[in-house]
């Protein structure tokens, strides 16, 4: 499958994520959109990694060149998992305090 398809899919996912973050007010949906953007990046990393690794394998069957992109993806997943646990905890606390998950209620940052 040509690399272009992966790129277009990835861009589409990323843009959906951005638009979601910008337009939605529900904290959980915003959160999901952030995850979407992270996964768009993951997809891109895996796609490029696979492409480079395939060309490297053609020259040398024992090579590991180009696999570091896939390693990065695992890092991102771990960090994202940690982030989700913190983020969800914040949302729970927010719900407990203001009985809503609407971020527009949270405009106290300016004070």
């Amino acid at each position: 499958m040509p690399i272009n398809y992966y790129i277009f899919l990835s861009i589409a996912l990323f843009c959906i994520g951005i638009v979601g973050v910008l337009t939605r007010r529900n904290a959980i949906i915003i959160f999901m959109c952030i995850e979407l953007m992270l996964n768009a990046v993951n997809l891109l990393l895996v796609a490029f990694s696979k492409m480079h690794h395939a060309t490297a394998l053609a020259a040398d069957t024992a090579t590991t060149a180009g696999t570091d992109g896939q390693l990065f993806v695992f890092f991102i997943m771990v960090v994202a998992a940690a982030e989700v646990s913190v983020g969800l905890a914040i949302i729970v606390m927010m719900y407990r305090n203001i009985h809503s998950v609407d971020v527009n209620f949270l405009n106290r940052l300016k004070h």
């Binding site: 973050v21 910008l22 971020v103 527009n104 949270l106 405009n107 300016k110």
Partner: protein
């Protein structure tokens, strides 16, 4: 005995210590202790000065470098003292007359509060210290330190009664006028450094003697130094501060504004006589300015009614005489007159202080009269002072004034004529003062008449000593014509001051000149006696009114210089300061304030808007990066 010169630094140190003790302890010491310390330190300096003077008479002179005052690249200015014939003579005058005036002050200022009494004596000691620094300095920079120091002390003491605005203004005037002169002095020092690379007297003078200066340089340097001297020694055009300086306590007038500080200019020029002798232009300027000042001040003194103002103008006039002597090359005569003038003018000022004391603060001679009967000692000593300043032989003033007149005659008969006329005016106004004050009927109030009394011993003893000095002080400089080898002072100063070249007049001419001046002076005194023995108050008219108003010089200065400057200052204050400077400063403040008020609105607290801005910014960065990529 040899090492007296090596501890000469003690001479200025004593008054400095006195200044510190009296200044710091003025709230804790008693009046008598302050008086003893204040006078004692000056007495110690005086004793040291006598010792040093004896050594110098024996032919020893000494230049001692203590440490480097300024050392920058090739320029090295040592903190050095020079003890030689000229400075040792001035040391004697300053500490001797200074001591008497300190003693006098203990009584004169006795009614002041202890704290202010201490302040007064600390200023007085600081003054003596500065003056000693001035005459002992072995280069122009050390001299300048003393020069500034005496100016400061003069300011502090004129404004001693600082609650009186008028006195403060007089103090400011003195300080500012002096500063104008000081600036010229400073430029002269810079000029010397630029040409010689050094300011030590010895180096500068030997540089000059080897003819290394161009004539333009030497003229500029000497004129600048002279401008400095006109400020300090109250000559045209900077003389107007001295009469106003009479706002200070009377002993201060005697010490600073008659006997010592104002002679600093004379000292400086006499010290630099080698430079001055090389510039005929400057010499002529000095002589003419001196003579003009002498004449102008003498005419003003004719019509003044404040006892201290008469003496102040008399001082200006006598200083003019000294400058005339300097200008005609008779440096020794100038120094001689400094000495005799210190005696008789200090005497007259202290005498006037005694009168003011007796009159309970009254200074207007129109309200005095007939004081001779009540104030016997004051009146007798005042007589001696007047005779001395008028120049009747064998009083001291005769010899010094005669030497100046003679040198003027050698230069030009015109100078002599004007100088003689001024000398006659001197006799006239001094005896006018004497007769109005001490003879005739008392014109004051009954209360004042009842209060009249002779001053205490602490005031009369200095008067008597100064009167004795005014009488005998002239015998150190008896002219050659009268006694062979009589000019002890000239011989003594020979190593420092080269005898002036000129066509010496014959002894018979000299006798004729002396006789002429003496006879005319006596005539003037008799005229003054008939005019003023029964003085009645009259309003001055015509020329008299102009003289009473000091030729309107103060008004002229106000119109020509002070008011325009003051208006300019007002303009700067009212317009430039208010609208331009403040406008810029406040404008910056207001702009920041307004800008932040507007920027604050961006901080809405809406997370969505923050994210939108972030995304847009990142887009912009990407686009820019895309276009700016090489």
């Amino acid at each position: 005995m040899q090492n007296a010169l090596h501890i000469a630094w003690l001479i200025p140190l004593f008054p400095l210590l006195g200044f510190l003790i009296n200044g710091l302890g003025r709230k804790h010491l008693t009046k008598s202790l302050i008086g003893i310390i204040g006078s004692g330190v000056v007495l110690a300096s005086f004793v040291m000065s006598i010792w040093v003077f004896m050594q110098v008479r024996g032919g020893n002179t000494h230049v001692a470098e203590y440490f480097n005052f300024i050392k920058v690249a090739s320029l090295k200015i040592p903190f050095a003292f020079q003890v030689d014939q000229l400075s040792s003579l001035f040391l004697l005058i300053i500490t001797g007359v200074g001591f008497l005036i300190h003693v006098y002050s203990t009584s004169y200022m006795h009614e002041e509060k202890t704290e202010h009494f201490g302040r007064y004596f600390s200023y007085l000691n600081l003054f003596v210290f500065s003056m000693l620094l001035l005459v002992m300095g072995a280069n122009y920079v050390i001299m300048f330190i003393g020069w500034e120091g005496v100016g400061l002390c003069s300011y502090l003491l004129i404004g001693y009664w600082f609650k009186n605005t008028k006195y403060n203004k007089a103090a400011n005037k003195a300080f500012i006028m002096n500063r104008i002169g000081d600036l010229a002095f400073l430029i002269a020092i810079f000029w010397i450094i630029a040409k010689v690379g050094n300011v030590n007297f010895g180096d500068v003078f030997s540089f000059a003697e080897q003819n290394k200066f161009t004539s333009a340089d030497i003229t500029i340097i000497t004129i600048l130094l002279f401008v400095g001297a006109t400020g300090k020694s109250a000559q045209i055009p900077l003389y107007t501060w001295l009469p106003d300086a009479m706002a200070g306590p009377t002993p201060v007038s005697a010490l600073i504004h008659a006997a010592t500080m104002v002679t600093a200019g004379i000292y400086m020029i006499a010290r630099s006589n080698i430079l001055y002798s090389m510039s005929h232009v400057t010499m002529s300027i000095v002589a003419i300015i001196g003579l003009a000042t002498a004449l102008l001040a003498a005419t003003i003194a004719l019509k003044q009614n404040d006892i201290k103002k008469v003496l102040a103008y008399s001082t200006v006039s006598q200083l003019g005489f000294m400058f005339l002597a300097l200008g005609t090359g008779a440096y020794v005569a100038a120094v001689f007159h400094v000495m005799t003038h210190a005696f008789f003018k200090a005497l007259l000022f202290l005498g006037s202080g005694s009168v003011i004391h007796a009159m309970g603060g009254e200074q207007d001679i129109r309200n005095m009269g007939g004081l001779g009967k009540k104030l016997k000692i004051t009146s007798a000593t005042f007589w001696i002072g007047c005779i001395a300043i008028a120049g009747i032989p064998p009083f001291s003033g005769f010899f010094s004034k005669d030497a100046i007149l003679l040198s003027a005659y050698e230069k030009s008969p015109v100078l002599y004529g004007i100088a003689l006329f001024t000398a006659l005016l001197t006799a006239f106004y001094m005896f006018r003062l004497l007769f109005i004050t001490f003879t005739g009927k008392f014109r004051g109030t009954h209360e004042q008449e009842h209060h009249l009394h002779e001053s205490p011993a602490a005031m009369t003893i200095p008067l008597i000593i100064l009167a004795a000095l005014s009488f005998v002080g002239g015998f150190v400089g008896i002219p050659e014509a009268i006694m062979h080898g009589g000019d002890k002072l000239g011989e003594f100063l020979l190593p420092v001051i080269k005898p002036h070249e000129g066509t010496p007049v014959s002894h018979s001419t000299e006798y004729a000149l002396m006789g002429l001046s003496t006879v005319l002076v006596v005539v003037m005194i008799i005229a003054a006696w008939f005019k003023f023995k029964n003085y009645q108050r009259t309003e001055a008219t015509g020329l008299g009114k102009v003289l009473e108003n000091k030729w309107y010089v103060d008004e002229l200065y106000d119109r020509a210089i002070v008011n325009p400057l003051s208006r300019f200052g007002g303009f700067l204050n009212g317009v430039i300061e208010k609208y331009v400077i403040d406008g810029v400063v406040n404008g910056v403040g207001k702009a920041v304030n307004y800008g932040s008020r507007q920027l604050r609105l961006l901080q809405s607290g809406q997370v969505g808007s923050y994210v939108l801005l972030m995304v847009l910014s990142m887009l912009v960065v990407f686009v820019l990066q895309f276009f700016l990529r090489k």
